[in-house]
């Protein structure tokens, strides 16, 4: 049925079925991919927001016919790179753009508001944005951006006070313009001629044996090109060391260990045909017993999920005489804390596109944290040499660890390899919930001791980390579970043990703060209990026991980086004390008036081992291009955290040029060197370090060549944008393009490698995950609890974080705000309940309405080994949020809650217990 309407002012007629979602018409029929899709046409995420006659609507729930004769406004209509709308400019300036996936919807919703109300207050902005999820920014900068743009549009003077970065000459998120104009092409936005669509058939059972699989009916369906099962895999049906026992496709005769385990891949002409055919594959299962918790999986009579038993790996740290330590304690305390499965919920769903290029290379465009790892897993499954596979990293709409999992890249590579055609697989949101890794639920048992004066003595920890049905990197989590379990404190004796346990829950894998977050939560809550029992200020307790540079740490040896924990705590102290005072005053007044609200203030610290994954030696390249630009080659995928900008800033700093002068080739295995895995907050420290080295080497090389031409000492060759000149005489400049030509005449390579190498500092350390690089931080939370409903509003969070050195204050703060918000979510609302949670409709990611006030103090204790003094903080900043909030809630209701999320129901139970115990709340 033809439908005529206007898109961004231009008349358009499309001939589609009349209830086709407007979103599909925009993206598929019109190729306007600036409008994103984040859920399954359910109206649950807001990234598809457009204006219909000026009012914001979910384009996924809008039948196209509704637009007949009306005006649709999308992000493409807002402004173009040369002519940005004030909203777009403000989003860039304030750092409101990270992964960029929520950005178009946010911009459009904000436009709808400002067109109608040029002078909105805080609450009105929140009302207009409350339906748009953001996972990166914590919303704060988005709100700031709307306020600034509104003022500008009213003709007022309003500039974002941009604190200039310490590193590099000016601030520029190099991909932000593309993201605010809708031009950034994410994997789901890409199409190729002849592209097929893949769909993975998944097990509907938590635990089942595949008895038989019949694809004959499905193969006959229209559009079906190929149905792939385990037997079709030319090479390894697995992910090597990444996940020891996880097949790409479950073979007949084997068991599928979780709901969502992959069984077959259907490749068809259209997504709908692939889906229909997947449903037509006839699979016979024998359903087996299943368990969801580590406790059940470890029970004596538990069904063995794997023949070797239900424990995957174990690890422990033990030193000192624990019995003696406890005997000498004035107080010992036992606690048990638990956490649940949580989902990354990046707003871009997992998608990957593969094709065979004209040289026969299997090329896979996919989100990743390490393209070389993905390349090797793909090659291994296809029985190819790694060089016969290329991985290209597209713009990524958020990861938080979730997109490190290689299975989708391998799956789509396999599909393209076997069909010899371009294939895309885009997960639905439900599939993303069913098939991608979650955060490991922990069950932690603590026993700690202390002297009456607060000196910590012994610590005994037992941790079960639930990795669900598959390894998915859970084998390594025990190291970080144990390391996180003791914190940045001096202990007399330590015995901490963790084991990774299989269940039939969703597989658990990489998640921001890998393994550390859950341990930090239990430790810092247990310490808070201890402080209360000792009648001691919780900050004093921590200060008293904080490690110093030379202290023997929880691990039994001193840590290898600079330690700023005491500074961190002292920075937090005045704000923490103010929070306490405010809460006391509030609660006294509320009691007086009989109001059912109480405030609570909680504190938590953390230490985080960054850079722990991957090698100690990292490579990057820097090139002087023939036109005089610099080109950085490295692998540090940017999933929104800003590594693209960081890498160019570092090069700009060393080469004394503006970042406009720098181009970047990042995370492409055909073009950039392997700079190691981007996990564990490594990129700034390690890859940044390698870029600094490469840029330094290039600088020296240019100085050597230029000194001949300039007739000066190489050390006197000075860089000034696109020129070099002798330090003494700026007028005697030579263009860098001419220097490049001179390189060529001399037959000298213009592309030079640099290595960041910690091996000399840690010569005996063969296992990178043991290298003791740590950063520390602390947070205080101020919460308001409704005593009648148990509903918690986190009102304020103050963050004190040792950055080493801040590369970019705007980006750092944006990342911290996002981490805090993610922490708020995982503490009070987020939980994947196996069997019940299937999509955003049943998983509660915080909206802008849950945003607390966030105050950030960046503490700078320069690193000893990192480039320019930096440390890795992207994950670390999330770890203290949960314990700070939970301690605040527990103190408000005078009852310990030892499970997250602290849902209204759990909080109300605690309140009821306190009331039964006759406590005066």
């Amino acid at each position: 049925m033809p439908v005529s309407f206007f898109v961004n002012g231009a008349p358009i007629t499309v001939d589609v079925l009349p209830a086709t979602p407007l979103l599909d018409v925009l993206r598929i029929e019109l190729g306007l991919t600036g409008t994103k899709q984040g859920c399954d046409h359910e109206g649950e995420c807001g990234v598809c927001t457009v204006l219909l006659d000026g009012e914001s609507v979910r384009s996924c729930l809008t039948p196209i016919s509704k637009a007949e004769g009306r005006h649709v406004f999308t992000v493409e209509g807002l402004g173009s790179p040369g002519k940005l709308h004030p909203l777009q400019q403000a989003f860039i300036d304030t750092g409101a753009v990270q992964c960029g996936y929520c950005t178009p919807g946010m911009l459009v919703a904000a436009k709808g508001l400002l067109d109608r109300n040029p002078n909105p207050n805080h609450e009105q902005i929140i009302e207009f944005l409350e339906g748009n999820l953001c996972r990166c920014t914590g919303y704060k900068r988005i709100l700031m951006a709307v306020e600034i743009a509104a003022a500008k549009l009213r003709g007022e003077q309003a500039e974002f006070k941009n604190e200039y970065p310490v590193v590099g000459k000016e601030y520029r998120r190099m991909d932000a313009v593309d993201k605010v104009t809708g031009r950034a092409k994410y994997t789901e936005d890409m199409v190729m001629p002849g592209m097929l669509h893949g769909r993975v058939l998944r097990s509907p059972h938590h635990h089942a044996r595949l008895i038989a699989l019949d694809r004959s009916q499905a193969e006959k369906l229209p559009g079906v090109i190929r149905i792939i099962t385990a037997g079709d895999i030319p090479g390894e049906n697995g992910l090597g060391d990444y996940s020891r026992d996880e097949p790409i496709l479950t073979p007949v005769g084997d068991t599928a260990k979780m709901m969502g385990a992959p069984i077959a891949i259907v490749v068809a002409e259209t997504p709908q045909q692939a889906r229909t055919a997947a449903q037509a594959i006839n699979v016979t299962y024998e359903v087996l017993p299943h368990v969801f918790t580590s406790e059940e999986a470890l029970a004596e009579n538990a069904y063995p999920i794997y023949s070797q038993g239900n424990i995957l790996t174990q690890y422990s740290v033990k030193h000192g005489d624990l019995d003696q330590a406890f005997n000498e304690s004035d107080l010992t305390l036992e606690t048990r804390y638990q956490s649940s499965f949580v989902e990354h919920s990046a707003l871009e769903r997992e998608a990957s596109l593969a094709y065979i290029d004209d040289k026969g290379i299997v090329t896979v465009i996919c989100a990743n944290h390490e393209p070389y790892w993905h390349r090797n897993y793909i090659a291994s499954t296809l029985a190819l040499e790694p060089t016969q596979v290329r991985v290209i990293t597209p713009p990524i709409g958020g990861s938080f660890g979730g997109k490190q999992d290689p299975i989708l890249a391998v799956t789509v590579g396999l599909a393209s390899f076997l069909t010899r055609r371009p294939v895309r697989i885009a997960y639905t949101r439900k599939e993303s919930f069913a098939a991608t890794p979650k955060r490991h639920p922990y069950d932690l048992k603590y026993r700690i001791g202390a002297k009456q004066n607060g000196q910590l003595t012994g610590i005994h920890v037992r941790i079960n980390a639930n990795t669900g049905g598959y390894d998915a990197h859970g084998q390594y989590i025990v190291h970080f579970a144990v390391t996180g379990s003791g914190g940045a404190y001096r202990w007399q004796a330590v015995d901490s043990h963790a084991q990774t346990v299989y269940t039939n829950g969703p597989k658990a894998g990489q998640y921001r703060g890998f393994g550390t977050t859950q341990s930090t939560y239990a430790l810092e809550c247990t310490l808070d209990e201890l402080a209360q029992k000792l009648g001691m200020d919780p900050l004093e307790l921590r200060l008293k026991n904080a490690i110093e540079q030379s202290s023997i740490s929880f691990l039994g040896y001193p840590i290898g980086e600079s330690v700023g924990y005491t500074e961190v705590l002292k920075t937090l102290q005045p704000r923490f004390e103010e929070y306490l005072k405010d809460a006391d005053a509030y609660n006294a007044a509320a009691r007086e008036k009989g109001e059912p609200f109480r405030k609570g203030v909680g504190l938590a610290g953390m230490w985080y081992r960054f850079g722990k994954s991957g090698t100690l030696k990292v490579e990057a390249h820097c090139e002087l291009a023939s036109d005089g630009h610099f080109v950085v080659y490295a692998t540090a995928p940017d999933y929104g955290q800003g590594s693209n900008s960081m890498l160019t800033q570092f090069a700009a700093e060393i080469l004394e040029s503006s970042s406009d002068q720098i181009r970047l080739v990042n995370a492409d295995t055909a073009l950039a060197p392997d700079s190691g895995i981007q996990g564990a907050s490594r990129s700034t420290y390690f890859v940044g370090g390698a870029v600094c080295k490469a840029a330094g080497n290039l600088r020296k090389s240019i100085q050597a060549v230029a000194s001949e031409l300039l007739d000066c000492d190489p050390a006197d060759v000075t860089f000034s944008d696109d020129k070099v000149h002798p330090a003494q005489d700026p007028t005697k400049g030579i263009l860098l393009s001419e220097i490049a030509a001179e390189f060529d005449r001399m037959g000298r390579s213009r592309r030079i490698a640099g290595f960041f190498d910690l091996t000399p500092q840690f010569p005996d350390e063969k296992r990178p995950q043991y290298v003791p690089l740590f950063c520390t931080g602390a947070q205080a939370a101020d919460v308001l609890v409704n005593l009648k409903t148990g509903v918690v509003q986190v009102e304020r969070i103050v963050v004190s974080q040792d950055m080493g050195r801040t590369v970019n204050p705007v980006d750092s703060q944006g990342q911290i705000e996002g981490a805090v918000m993610m922490g708020v979510g995982t503490t009070i609302m987020e939980e994947v309940i196996p069997d019940a949670t299937t999509s955003f409709a049943s998983y509660y990611v915080p909206t802008i309405k849950s945003m607390p006030e966030i105050e950030i103090h960046l503490v700078e204790v320069a690193s000893r080994h990192g480039p320019l003094g930096v440390k890795g903080i992207g994950e670390a900043v999330m770890t203290p949020t949960a314990p700070a909030i939970l301690n605040a809630i527990s103190r408000a209701v005078q009852q310990r809650i030892r499970e997250i999320p602290a849902t209204p129901e759990r909080v109300l139970e605690a309140i009821t217990t306190s009331q039964k115990e006759g406590l005066m709340l």
Binding site: T20, P596, T847, P904
Partner: protein, 298 residues
């Protein structure tokens, strides 16, 4: 996408009713479409034709008449909360509208659609029940007004048959004096979520402000259909709007309900534990508003 092949935009009610008759049950009324688009994807409905109320003359109007407030079936929740009269005098409806999903849902979703979709705790429905709303239902032969409460057969099942009938208007008695309404909603997060509980109340005081003449307390989701706490209502009628009476009424309301647990939202016990708090809160706010319109000398 399982889209029907046709999508009609009648401009009169008669035309719409005629279209439904012509399609003999194969067509279906659509308003905002925010629920129907989901039903369509899930295959819960498979109409051959959608008949839209969007462009029927007059149905996008909110009319403040002498005796009634009349709301057309194309009026969205955003229209409701933005309407000065509703915003000022019918808090329960404005606030319930604000609770529906988020603004970009409210800009499309309608009160009429909410009623015909017949979910037991739909925010708009709860407000309509508390307001004692009536619904005008039209088919090719008849037009009749029915109380909103009479339209629920079960969860998702309405006595309005949208393949044969259309809702054209919703109305409720106009009243500004001695009357207060209020809304309370409890959810797992403050926006973009289904309710753990919601409560809509409507309180009429006598001229002195000292006696509750009549009250309506709607609660959801505590039964397979929108629930009215009638014992609590009866208890309050004729009594003073004191804090103690309100507290007792809220307890009585708890006693009348039989909520179920939902693993994603809250258990039965949690719902039972919090019903008194939310009923009490809503009643107190409604009484306060009702008293605000009472002119007491001195």
């Amino acid at each position: 996408m399982n889209s029907p092949a046709k999508y009609l935009f009648p401009t009169t009610i008669e035309e719409a009713a005629q279209a439904l008759a012509d399609w003999k049950g194969e067509a279906r009324i659509i308003a905002g479409g925010t629920d129907l688009m989901l039903d369509l994807q899930k295959g819960k409905i498979q109409p051959h034709c959608f008949v839209s109320v969007d462009r029927i003359h007059g149905l996008d109007q909110i009319r403040v008449e002498d005796d009634f407030i009349v709301i057309g079936s194309a009026v969205t929740f955003a229209n409701l909360k933005d309407h000065p009269y509703i915003d000022q005098h019918v808090h329960v409806l404005a606030d319930a509208g604000r609770s529906v999903g988020s603004l970009s849902i409210q800009n499309a979703a309608t009160l009429a659609g909410n009623i015909v979709n017949a979910m037991p705790a739909a925010d708009g429905v709860m407000a309509a029940v508390a307001l004692e709303a009536e619904v005008e239902i039209v088919d090719i032969e008849h037009t009749e007004w029915k109380p909103v409460e009479s339209l629920f057969k079960g969860p998702g099942l309405s006595n309005v048959d949208p393949t044969r009938q259309l809702v054209t208007h919703i109305r409720f008695p106009r009243c500004e004096d001695h009357r207060g309404t209020a809304w309370y909603r409890l959810g797992r997060r403050p926006s973009l979520t289904l309710p753990i509980l919601n409560c809509a109340v409507n309180v009429f005081l006598d001229d002195s402000g000292g006696i509750i003449q009549r009250t309506r307390i709607a609660l959801g989701p505590v039964a397979p259909r929108p629930f009215r706490a009638q014992e609590a209502e009866r208890f309050l009628e004729g009594r003073s709007p004191s804090a103690e009476n309100i507290r007792q009424a809220a307890e009585i309301a708890r006693g009348e309900t039989d909520p179920r647990g939902n693993v994603l939202r809250a258990s039965r016990n949690y719902r039972l534990a919090t019903i008194p708090a939310i009923v009490e809160n809503a009643l107190s706010n409604a009484v306060e508003r009702a008293l605000g319109f009472v002119t007491t000398p001195g």
